[in-house]
Point group: C2
């Protein structure tokens, strides 16, 4: 139990969720569901039930340091690992790995995004415990959580596995990018494909070995600084070296290349709240399939919309509008067809160009 | 000149312009075009160029007393005639008539709404001067301004006239309600029909005579109090008697019944800013026929919308939406198809029922 560690990835910008998610206040810090806890806090709450509180780390961009401290005041300063630049997940995970290794070379680590929604927390926690036990007992195995798909979703990557054992563990055959609808339908019908959750489990030695094998650009650099991790010199070492790490995801850097990757097949009501579409899919729908993430609405002859307004006092009246995102947060009101949500990044770029940085 | 008076009707709620126009802050008090002057102030400014300032009166509901004083501090307290209840235009005009008669029985009066847009002010002022001269010289004539239609508009009432004389004055044949499109087209093509502007001119004796003939329910009551008008007792008399007046418009109560009604045919770029549709029609359009009454917009694949947002810092991003009203003011965001704007009154009623009076 005390060898179990958790790394929460909390540095994303969440631009696909604009205007709620802002560069200065990304979506993991938002209380999207009005529960009183942000997505980050809910992630922390889940893990703190099964991992010793002092073994939970947040890796994030240093610009979010104060946000993290404000939302998770129970964390010790050295549990927040700050990156000086944005470098995707592989460098973040490498940083956390070297830090935890310096503390406990026997560590088993679960790595998780900070912006996921988990519906059945008890099932989730049992799966994490099972996974940590698996990686403790299976030498250099790299384990990922594969979510049993409930629909032919085109917004997620998929993992194809060989037949799972009685415990739900399957060796991974392939990782795939987000499919088009026809391919997603084939994946869904086959029963062999699971959604790629981005939740990984491994012991320190296993991920170290994989980094050395597949990401020597990172491991060679961090090896030079190995003695300074978990010391007062770590910060300045990271400042000098982290910016030179390649901008690459752990999926692409390691998981898709390694041959000792396993998947724990699970089904705990999961969603990557990465996009308005995923929020729409997960949200509770009214009789006309509208999802309302706001207190006061009056909706007439309107179907398939997702309506999210930050100000709880604001009444939203919608008439004659179908399949749109209607989102208002801070200084932006956006109304956009749901099928065009991939253009939000362009809207942000345009907004910054025309009206300045305060709109991104 | 000193016999010329003006009565500005400033008591409407403007509910068809919700959520900008609110019961506590109706549209005549709004600076809709960002000119620094509200519609009421612009109305006052126009008349004060041709009518002695001390001869201009505002009739309004007493709940707007402070708003009027704030926007028109140059008015003396007794130039603001306060109604204790809402009773449409006939009682308002009767009240103003009795008040002005007590001051000057030779008065010629122009009565005008406070929420109209006039594009060519010089033409307008010449017309008012011409009209005041006409009613001074034509005994008991009741004169209305008829606006030469520029399109087969279905949102206005029409006035049919006999042939106009060289000065543009025509005897009125009929008043008609708002027509459907086919009828509006016939009206427009005929050349005999003009828009009913709601701007009236008459001398005190003429409107008194008409009120006695067609509205004895009002005149009999006000005759009893005739000695108190323009005295300190007027206020308490009005408080006791005004609520008993019938709720009826001057058009319906007098103009449609009288046989001595004339119309001055004019063309000074007029709009009744009563509805979102009229605002859309009057507004400057971009290349996709969107009307933007807000500072910061980014519009993609969207046509024929009217976009009005109160907060000048708010950026509005619209993608894939056609022919809608997108309006945000105070605690309400409304998105509604333009052709359904007549339902706004129902929205207000629903909002009050569900969420309380602060939304109406």
């Amino acid at each position: 139990m005390t060898n179990n560690y958790c790394v929460i990835m909390g540095g994303g910008i969440g631009s696909r969720f604009w205007p709620f998610s802002r560069e200065t206040y990304p979506k993991q810090f938002l209380d999207l569901f009005g529960t009183g806890r942000s997505l980050l806090q809910m992630t922390y709450d889940r893990f703190s039930k099964i991992i010793p509180q002092e073994n939970i780390y947040i890796v994030t961009n240093e610009s979010y340091s104060d946000l993290i401290k404000g939302q998770l005041p129970e964390l010790d300063e050295n549990q927040i690992l700050l990156e000086p630049t944005r470098r995707n997940t592989a460098p973040s995970i490498a940083y956390a790995t070297y830090h935890i290794q310096a503390i406990n070379p026997e560590a088993n680590i679960v790595v998780a995004p900070s912006d996921h929604l988990i519906v059945h927390e008890d099932v989730f926690m049992e799966s994490v415990k099972k996974g940590l036990l698996f990686v403790q007992e299976h030498g250099d195995a790299l384990l990922t959580m594969g979510i049993r798909p409930s629909r032919p979703e085109t917004g997620y990557g998929y993992i194809q596995g060989y037949e799972a054992d009685a415990g739900g563990f399957a060796k991974v055959k392939t990782f795939t990018e987000k499919p088009d609808y026809d391919l997603a339908k084939i994946f869904f019908d086959s029963g062999e494909f699971f959604w790629n959750s981005g939740i990984f489990l491994w012991n320190v030695a296993a991920i170290q070995k994989a980094l050395h094998k597949y990401m020597p650009e990172i491991s060679a650099r961090f090896d030079l600084g190995a003695p300074v991790f978990n010391t007062p010199e770590e910060k300045s070492f990271i400042h000098q070296n982290f910016p030179y790490c390649p901008n690459i995801s752990i999926d692409y850097a390691v998981m898709e290349k390694a041959d000792n990757v396993y998947m724990l097949c699970v089904d705990y009501g999961w969603a990557d709240l990465g996009t308005w579409g995923s929020l729409y899919d997960m949200g509770e729908k009214d009789i006309d399939n509208n999802v309302k993430l706001t207190d006061k609405t009056m909706i007439y002859e309107s179907k398939g919309n997702v309506i999210a307004v930050e100000d709880p006092k604001r009444l939203v009246v919608v008439q004659g509008i179908d399949n749109c995102i209607i989102a208002e947060s801070g200084n932006v009101l956006m109304i956009c067809r749901r099928e065009e949500e991939q253009r939000i990044k362009q809207f942000i770029a345009d907004a910054q160009l025309i009206y300045g940085k305060e709109y991104n």
